[in-house]
Amino acid sequence: MKPTRCPVSAARELCAGVFSLWLEAPDIARRVKPGQFLNVRVSSGLDPLLRRPISVCDVELSRVRLVFRVVGRGTALLARVRAGDELDVLGPLGRPAPELHHKEILLCGGGIGAAPLLFLGRRLRKANRLQVLLGARAKAELLLVKEFRALGIPVATATDDGSGGHKGMVTELAETQCRMQNAECRVQNGRRWSAVSGQPSAVFACGPRPMLADLVKRLDPIPIWGFVEERMGCGTGICYCCALPKKGGGQVRFCEEGPVVKLNEVVL
């Protein structure tokens, strides 16, 4: 797999510390599936050395969108990229999220976690019924709300300070959603999340580890697919540096077996 140099066609700051880049990358745009990521060089020299793995946020014709938050030196360098620059990109990498049909699916994103859910929502919306729940510290930091609505996916929001939607955590919203459905289900057939289609449904979540852990606790036993973030070495499965312990022993190498994993099977 050869790295490709992709021209940046648009670069913009979405809110404080969160950036959006559109890359002209026809080959990647054609092949990439939701859940996959690109491994991006943030310098042309040897420092920083490693690529930075960033989930694909959206795809439009020949363009791929990356939305990322500045968390360290590497992402700070990436935030300086301007339209007209080129990025050295390896990908798409990682195992795609499962393709689901005829399901009721909840997409739950905390902060920057909204990013990979947009591409997933775009691909899942036709064959499934979707609902998006987004959380952030404040209204200004709620990401991609317009984009989700433009896809016709209903969005509910939660903010720590109550400035946008529910005051509190997005996991609380998720629990309310599921219990509501659950109450209906119990009356009908005793199964959760089966009110409409009669099939078990799924939750996709992306956000900080504590949020994912909280979600697992609140929604158990509903299966949750989580987009997990961990430091990676190669991103291609050859170095074994990204390991997430599995419940009951062993570990997931999640650049390869993830980054979307069943949250109830791993130790967060």
């Binding site: 040897l46 490693l50 390896l90 190669c234 570990q251």
Partner: protein, 300 residues
């Protein structure tokens, strides 16, 4: 122009190897692996190992620290599941073996002797395990004993991968030679500690092994010394990021080079290094690598 290299009973089509731990088993990027001199596998142990808890990698200006901790499927599964897949690679297959006692190296060598792999790289230098590993590699007598035990149990080419942590690799290289090694690889990662900014160790394995471009001057220094002191070929490893780096290693006395950390940044890196070397050989009308191997000593 013959650009192949022979170590022990093994002839490599060219002097570039993918270093142990940084290219898995060479199966993910076959088109790269096939064009190298060979691939050195992840370290294989007698029993399967899950490796160290995360995080396992830390980046600093100049390279990385890793603490993977020899995660591998164990020699049985490796032999039955992985080796058959490696059998149709078009390059040489070198299996890196790591034991936790002297006898384990013998057992590993014996078990792999009947498989179609080309050579063994005896790892006495892993910094990320509590016993064995680099502790063995710090004691010339133990290095000699391990090499001799492996030598007795296999007819395959034996390369010993040495450490430069708190030991003069000249002494351990001589010990490996005395034990019957066909070649030595120098250097493995250096001991390192990274803290998280709040005074706690960053890596899940607490300490790690330093690799990457920062290692190159020290690795070159070691290759220079070791290759002057032993008659068996030396494989240079440590911070090879480009063909220019590889040329430096050959000039310092290495017969081959291994590309490691660079593959994490770009899986085509080992191939880029080989293509660059080949181009250099053509442009300078080299008839064999011997013309440049060790030339730094001849010219000083």
């Amino acid at each position: 122009m013959n650009l192949s290299v022979t170590i022990g009973r093994t002839t490599f089509a060219n002097p570039v190897l993918a270093a142990s731990g940084t290219f898995e088993f060479g199966l993910k990027f076959r088109s790269v692996t096939n064009r190298l001199g060979g691939v050195v596998t992840k370290a294989i142990t007698l029993l399967p190992r899950v490796g160290n808890p995360p995080p396992r990698i830390y980046e600093f200006p100049g390279g990385i620290l890793n603490s993977v901790g020899l995660e591998n499927p164990g020699v049985e599964d490796f032999s039955t599941e992985v080796v058959p897949q490696m059998a149709n690679l078009k390059c040489r297959v070198v299996v890196n073996i790591a034991g936790f006692s002297i006898d384990e190296y013998g057992e590993l060598a014996a078990k792999l002797d009947s498989t179609p792999v080309d050579a063994l790289e005896v790892n006495v230098s892993c910094p990320n395990v509590r016993e064995g590993g680099a502790l063995f590699g710090q004691q010339p007598r133990v290095v000699e004993a391990i090499t001799a035990v492996a030598r007795k149990r296999t007819t395959k080419t034996i390369i010993v991968k040495l450490t430069a942590n708190f030991v003069d690799p000249v002494e351990t290289a001589k010990a490996a030679e005395a034990g019957g090694a066909d070649g030595v690889t120098i250097i493995n990662t250096l001991f390192g500690l990274a803290l998280d900014g709040n005074g706690r160790p960053f890596l899940g394995g607490r300490t790690g092994g330093v690799s990457g471009p920062a290692l190159k001057p020290f690795a070159l220094f070691c290759v220079d010394r070791v290759s002057a002191a032993v008659r068996i070929p030396v494989i240079g490893c440590g911070g090879v990021m480009s063909a220019a780096d590889a040329l430096d290693f050959l000039s310092a006395g290495a017969a081959m080079v291994q590309v490691g950390t660079a593959s994490l940044v770009n899986p085509e890196a080992p191939l880029d290094v080989w293509n660059g070397l080949k181009q250099h050989a053509r442009q300078n009308r080299l008839s064999k690598w011997a013309e440049i191997i060790g030339r730094s000593r001849r010219q000083s």
